[in-house]
Amino acid sequence: MASFTLGKYLPYNSLIHKMDPRAKIIVMMLLLCAIFIPAGFIGYGILVVIVTSIVLVSKLNLKFVVNSMKPMMFMLVFLLIINILVIKTGPILFSLFSLDIYLDAIMQTFYIAIRLLLMIMITTCLTATTKPLELTLGIEDLLKPLKVVKVPAHEIAMMISIALRFIPTLIEETERIMKAQASRGVDLQEGKIKEKIGGILSLIVPLFVSSFQRAEELAFAMEARGYSPGEIRTRYKQLHMKYGDYLAIVFGVLLNIVMLTLSMVF
């Protein structure tokens, strides 16, 4: 499961790591917004510089982040072909076997690639610099205003944090069941489709049974320790917005304004 790197927390000590999770989530949203404002070449140039410097300040490995684009390559090539066939505007760049290739087709594909790359960089940066628990606390706080329209903010956050807590346990369990089934002759790697489906079922059924068992026991344990959804409870981890956090949010808003202006000018 070492390949499961997307969305993994990396415990470094950086300015971004120390930011308040709420501020980080808001800034991430603002950056994602900015990406979708069509502000032309200059706009994307600015964004690439900003996002790259955020990644660098977080002390994350730039190569590692860019590498997570690889699975996307196939899709991009596919997109490029479609764009070449469909988009017929702008100057003709060159002709390939009597097929005219327009500049806009190339540029559109390039913009989409840049957007994807930036999105991955931003989200990776958020999850890599924020502990899952802090992330859920942040989400809980940001969803709190929605309580007016009956969004159960705390319950959602509790569900996310329990899900996160049990991911490693369930991975362990899956590996254990796989070994147990393999020792009974179930082959998950080879065989015909039908055998493979049978093999996967022999994995999923016991996993579900044990997960329900776990869920029941966990619910009992939580209730026994005084948990009751909907009741007021205090919170151990307190979040504190600092000067820098507000600054980052202001910066995010400004960036959007700049992008909007750019998109109107060009």
Binding site: P132, R165, P168, T169, L218, F220, M222, G226, S228, R233
Partner: protein, 275 residues
């Protein structure tokens, strides 16, 4: 003084599983009581009834003089802590620290006070160095110690252990058992332990034997554990020392009932001196 008083409690999961049948028992304040019985005899169900995780079909339960009812539930749960069998399925927090905090949060303890409480109980269960560890990095015994810390942090008067050592390796088992013994000695904590460990039963003040949802026997371990046929008939183990006594009697040697190896050994030594 009775701290737990259960009268004629009944519970069925559905039409066919009548798990607890008109069970009555009481537990003295500060005592160490064990419950034994075959798998499915209703021990866990009783534990869940006692802290109101399941509602009795009939009968009444009093904890420290308070009747267990929906309106008293929160108060009762302040008095009773429970540690379950599976170490993984009762670890709620992302780290040891967060897990101990979980109960404190539910009891609305001020967050400024939490760190001190967490540290105190982490030291108590010897998990201070592991405060920031995630559950996957801990052994079963360590996770159970965190569960005990979580229960202790609520300042309960009673702690129920529901086969809390049965999924641990022998070392973890010993560690937790010794810890429970120490805990019982130093505080006037009432302990109710559901167990399959017959040596633990020998050390307890009182033992309740469950069989098919009913209480079969109840009393001092020395009075219960020598009723070998009855215990064997309901699939229960008997202490090793008692087994030796039984075998010696079959050989025609007259010897009194012994629950611990030490007393058995000293009696055998005395016998050989007399010869």
């Amino acid at each position: 003084m009775k701290i737990i008083d259960a009268k004629n409690i009944d519970f069925s999961y559905d039409e066919i599983t009548h798990a607890v049948k008109s069970v009555s028992f009481s537990v003295e304040r500060g005592s160490y009581t064990t419950i034994i019985g075959h798998n499915g005899s209703g021990k866990s169900t009783i534990a869940k009834l006692l802290i109101g995780l399941l509602p009795c079909d009939s009968g009444s339960i009093h904890i420290d003089g308070l009747e267990l009812s929906l309106s008293n539930l929160a108060k009762i749960r302040n008095k009773v802590g429970i540690v379950f069998q599976n170490p993984d399925n009762q670890f709620i927090g992302a780290t040891v620290r967060d897990d101990i905090a979980f109960g404190l949060e539910n009891h609305r303890i001020d967050s400024n006070l939490m760190d001190d409480i967490i540290n105190e109980f982490a030291i108590k269960v010897n998990m201070f160095e592991y405060l920031d560890s995630e559950p996957t990095k801990l052994s079963g015994g360590q996770k159970q110690r965190v569960a005990i810390a979580g229960a202790l942090a609520m300042n309960p008067e009673i702690i129920i252990f529901d086969e809390s050592t049965s999924m641990l390796d022998p070392q973890g088992k010993n560690e937790i058992n010794n810890f429970i013994q120490e805990l019982h000695k130093e505080k006037d904590l009432t302990i109710l332990s559901i167990t399959h460990d017959i040596e633990e039963v020998c050390k307890s003040d009182n033992v309740i034997v469950m069989f098919e949802g009913k209480i079969l026997m109840e009393g001092k371990p020395c009075d219960i554990l020598n009723q070998t046929e009855k215990l064997v008939a309901c699939n229960l183990d008997i202490p090793f020392a008692q087994k030796v006594v039984n075998e010696l009697r079959l050989k025609g040697i007259s010897i009194s009932d012994n629950l611990t190896l030490e007393s058995l050994v000293s009696e055998i030594c005395l016998l050989s001196l007399k010869k």
